[in-house]
Structure formats: C-alpha cells, structure tokens
Symmetry: C2
Subunit: 366 residues, 2 copies
C-alpha cells in the first residue's frame, strides 16, 4: 500500500494507496473533529491542497453516533468529502476530554464530556465504530499516557496497549481499511523500542507514534523519534500523532516521519494567530488597523487573494463569522503548502537547505 | 435614476440605477452590518442572487471607523463587494442599541454600545460618514420613534426629523450617491401623510418608510403603508425599512413597496430556523437526526445541493462554524429567490396568484 519514492538522508517521500485514492507523503491531516474542518467547506479544504482529513471517533461516536453516519453512507458521504479520511481510535480523547472512570484490560469506562453519560469502550468497539464510519485509515485503541508518567506506569500501560493492538488487528474485518498500530512507552527509549518491535510482529499497515506532544520537553520528542523510527519497517508509513508546529514537522520529516495531524492551524486561526512566510502574525494587533496588504503577500490562498489585513483584523475584532473563515482557510493553506514544498524538496534531495531556509525566514523577527 | 417597468395592480417592478450598477426592483437588501453578511463570503452573497447589501453606518463609524474604510477605498473595496451598497444613517441604531443621552435639534448625544464612549452625531455628521463610506444609496438621519409612542411625541419628533432631512439634503456633496428621505410619524396617519408631503417637497432620490416593524400590530403596519404610499411620487423608489417576514414582504409589495432590508434570514439561520417552500424548518429538532434529504428539496442553494438535514443538524448541535455558514447561505438564497419570483410575476401580471400560492404553501402545516 505504501511506496517509498525517494529518501533524502532520512527524510522520505512516497505514496500511500487508500480506498479513496493515493496520498503523497509526507502529508499533514487537517482535523475534522466532528466531521467538518472548523470554518472551512469541503471545497476550501480541497483548494487548500488537502489530500486527507482526520475525523475523531470519540466525538463522532458521541454525536451524531456511528449508526447515523453509517446510514448516511459512511463519513465521506455524511460530510461530503470524497478523498481519504483517517479516524483515530478515540483513545486519546477518552484520556484527555472525558472524565475517566476506570481502565481495565477489557476496556475503558468513562463519562461523555458532552452530557456525562457513562460509556464503556473496548478495543473491539473502537474498531467496530471505525468500520461503521468507513474511514480509509483506522487506528488501534490505545492508552495515551500523560506527561509526566512514571516508568512503572508507562510499562504497565504499554502492556495493555500492546494486547489491545492484537485484539484490534484480530477483530478488524473491512479489507478496504488500513489499520495502524500505535507505539507508546512515554519518554522511555527501551519501552518505545519494545513497543515498536511488538507491533511490528503483529504486522500493521502503518505505525503511529503516540503519546508525544503531550507536554514533554521538545528534545524528548525528537529523542524518542530518533530511538523509535529505526525500529519501524521502511516499507510502511510512519505517523507522528498530534504534531505540530511547522518546526516540529520539519524536524520529524528530517528523521523519517511521513504523516502528521494537528489542531494548530485551525485552532490558532480562530484566535487570530496566522502563519506567514515570515512567522506568526497576530492579526488582532492595533498595528494592522490600516494595513491594506494581504495577510501574507507571498500567499495565494483565497483570503490573501481577496482581503486585507485591515479587513480581516476588523472582522476578528468585530466577532464576524467571516473572520474565522478567512483565518482558518489561510492557516490550513499555509500548512498544506509547507507539506507540498517538503515533498518537492525531498524529491529533489534539497530538503536540508529548504528546511534551514524556511526556518530562518519563519523565525526571524519582523 | 428609477424606471418603472410594469405595475400589476399596485405592485411595481422597475430598475434603479446606482454608481455600482442597476438593481431590479422589488429587491431585498441582505444586511452586512459591519461590512460582512454574517456567515457568507462576497461570492456566496452574489451566488445567492444579491444585487445590493446594506451596511450599518453606526457600526462602521464605531468600528473600524469611516476614515479607515475610506483609506481602503470605500466600503466596496474594504469588504471586496463590487455591487451596490446602501448605508443607513445610523439613526435607528442610535435609538435602539446605544445608551441614548440626549436629542437636541442639533443632533444626538449617545454612548457607544461597544465601549461606552460618548459620541455626538448630527445629520451633517451622518452624511459625511456615509460619503466617506462611499455607499451608493445613503439615508437621511432621522429619529426612529419607538412603539408605543404618543401622538404628541411623534409630532414633535417628526418636526425635528423633517428639519434634519433638509439639512442632510443641503450638506450632501457626492453626486454619485443617491439620498433617500425617511417618512416617520409613528402609527398616526395624518403625521405620516404630512411627513411624506414635506419630504416630497425637499425632493429626494427615493423615499423610505421608517419606524415600522418596531413592535406595532402588523395591521397598523399595513394601514400606514396604505396611507403613506399614495403620497409618494410614482417615479421614485419606496423602501420599507427593516421589514420583514416573507409574508410582510409580499403584503408590502402588493401595496407598492420596492425595497426591503431585514436581519431575519441571517439571524434566524444562526438559530437554525430555516426558510423552506413549505414553511420554517427548525433544523435542530430531533426529527431531522436521520433525515438524509436536503434542507429544502426544491432549493438549489449550495447547502441544499451538497448537504443533508441530518448533517446540517449535526453541525448546528455540535456548534460547528460550517453549520452557521450553510444555514445562512440557505436563508439568504431563499429570500433572494422569493424576490426574483416576485419580480417575474409582477412583470407577467400574475403577482396576486403567486402571492396566494406561495403563502398557502408556506403556511400549511407540515
């Protein structure tokens, strides 16, 4: 399913075949938590260059429920999106959003963050839900350990996560869906290595690295990548979950990661934090009141082609819905353009120079 | 500037020439309070069939300020809208939104509803602001009397409003802008007639009927229209301000009104109240949970062409921005389609039948 096209040092570009089309890697998955990329229409997401979006199983299970999505013909039909979709397993949200009741080897009991309803979720349930959502890539149900996390707890948790991974693989029926395992083990290199080895034995269509970007120092994240990635098979895609800033992505690509997802572009947009070629621009600042240039004059997104900083600032200050749309469209476009450039430069074996040029420009003080 | 093309009993269709193009009447002006139709992009507004939008002088004066809009090249450039714009005078908002301090013959002292700042606004200021905004149709500064309003107060207020109208006409310099007078006089027929006669003498490019839809019984609104409209010149457009429901619009068109504006389509959209050919549909209701038909299967708007009731309901229940977009696009489309049909049927002298068919369908219980 995954074909490696070129490597530039450790950075890789390739293509991943899914039931809804091929995806060029490395790629970034824009978040569509509840079946919608916040502030964007499906057309906007496509125009921004998205090859795939990520839906959250936990949210969709609670609302509207996988049976309704299934009745609509699956998540693609429900949200009117015909390109690939990855769904997570719900694990991360159970541990971060819900009021957690109890973890047993069988599964997790928790309370819905929406109405407090008590819900029992097993690895088997997670796979069944994702099968009903009919996404293209589905994830194993795992425990995402928090930071900090004792070695003892991390080891105990990892054992359950590995058992759950086996059960997920076993219960999965739909052959059109790709199933990814998730490496856990907190910040402990030997646990990460063990996890990678165990999952490799189970044999998945791809491997995710979970439990990072949860508050650990950034150098720990890179260290874990350096430790874990060599343990993963070269012919399978590697997905760093929940990451990250443009810099994080570049660092991880350099180490051999193929897939990313993060709420940063859309969430930051809604707070008026806009990504530009010369760093983050806080559009609500007074200094943009009479600035009739685009958000980023080097950007060709809809927002930059049609509106000025002064107008976008005015919309954001006035709490106008259009402001949220324009900022979200811009940030998603920025992230996906970055990925496109990353792919181009890995293909041309010029990734290193691209990375350092990009970061120099992005991090320089305006 | 205004050409009458046909009359069907008292209903009129015509065209109004403005600096940014010709508008077919009767027409409805979608509200763009702060320089944006809430939830829609300029393209959406055009695709919905809008010929003109309405900007609020009061809001734009407070934020971002007319000088910034003027620096951007006027409101059209600022908001990236190249079709006609009407701005109101700010009068209505001063009386409805701001904490009013004092009305004198010279002008009005009030506190901004945003930051409480004390502001003094005269008829001359209102015209100067509207000239800076560079809208196509500008309105005289008036006192919009509330309901109920004593005859004594209505008469006293009307005298000031008429004097203000004269001052607005006198100060106006920009020949590309059309200036409309506003008939006031509360629910008192003789005051309305007096107001119409006085304004006619001053000679405006169009005449608005203000101070209705402020809480008076609906039959009073129609009675005032019946009394006032015959007093207005036939060769000038007649604008019923702030109205209204589809039924109100049909009733007013029947009596000879050419122009309307109202927040109903956009505001109702944000609450999930959707206009359909068979009445108002409350999309958040449980019954639409598994309804995979469009909002209105007879509608050809973007939302109805691409999404289902079940999905739109899910988005609204989940507070997703896309839900607000889809509902707003639909409602604006509905209103503008209604106006298009009204024009078509007046042209064909079949307005009466269209009106009764439409209302029968719209008001029938589902």
């Amino acid at each position: 399913m995954f074909t490696l096209l070129n490597t530039d040092n450790k950075a890789r570009c390739g293509k991943l075949k899914t039931a809804h089309g091929e995806i060029k890697s490395p790629f970034f998955m824009t978040i569509a938590t509840c079946g919608s990329v916040k502030g964007l229409r499906p057309e906007d997401v496509k125009k921004a260059g998205a090859q795939i979006v990520l839906g959250n199983t936990y949210h969709l299970h609670l609302r509207p429920g996988e049976d309704i999505v299934n009745k609509a013909g699956g998540l693609h039909n429900f949200m009117n999106w015909d390109k690939p979709i990855l769904t997570d397993s719900g694990g991360f949200q159970v541990f971060s959003l819900a009021k957690l009741r109890k973890i047993t080897e069988r599964g997790v009991i928790f309370n819905s963050h929406i109405d407090g309803k008590k819900i029992f979720l097993t690895p088997e349930d997670s796979i069944r839900i994702q099968e009903k959502l009919n996404s293209d890539i589905i994830m194993c149900f795992d425990e995402c350990t928090p930071h900090p996390c004792s070695e003892e707890y991390a080891e105990k948790s990892l054992k359950i996560t590995t058992k759950w991974a086996r059960r997920c693989k076993k219960i999965k029926k739909n052959k059109h869906q790709l199933l990814f395992g998730i490496v856990q083990g907190s910040v402990y290199p030997h646990l990460r290595i063990q996890s990678a080895k165990d999952l490799k034995k189970i044999d998945f269509d791809g491997y995710a690295i979970g439990g990072l970007a949860v508050g650990e120092p950034i150098k720990d994240m890179y260290k874990i990548l350096d430790t874990t990635l060599p343990e993963l098979p070269e012919n399978k895609p590697r997905y760093l979950m929940g990451v990250g800033t443009p810099e994080n992505i570049l660092e991880a690509v350099e180490r051999g990661v193929d897939m990313f997802d993060c709420v940063l572009p859309t969430r930051n947009a809604r707070h008026g934090y806009l990504y530009t070629s010369s760093g983050i621009l806080r559009i609500k600042k007074e200094e943009f009141k009479k600035d009739f240039t685009p958000i980023d004059s080097k950007c060709s997104c809809y927002s930059c082609q049609n509106f000025t900083r002064a107008y976008v600032r005015h919309l954001m200050i006035s709490h106008e819905l259009l402001g949220l749309q324009l900022c979200s469209i811009h940030n998603v476009f920025f992230y996906l353009k970055l990925m496109k450039n990353i792919r181009k430069h890995i293909q041309k074996n010029t990734f290193q120079k691209f990375k350092s040029d990009f970061l120099e420009q992005f991090n320089k003080k305006p």
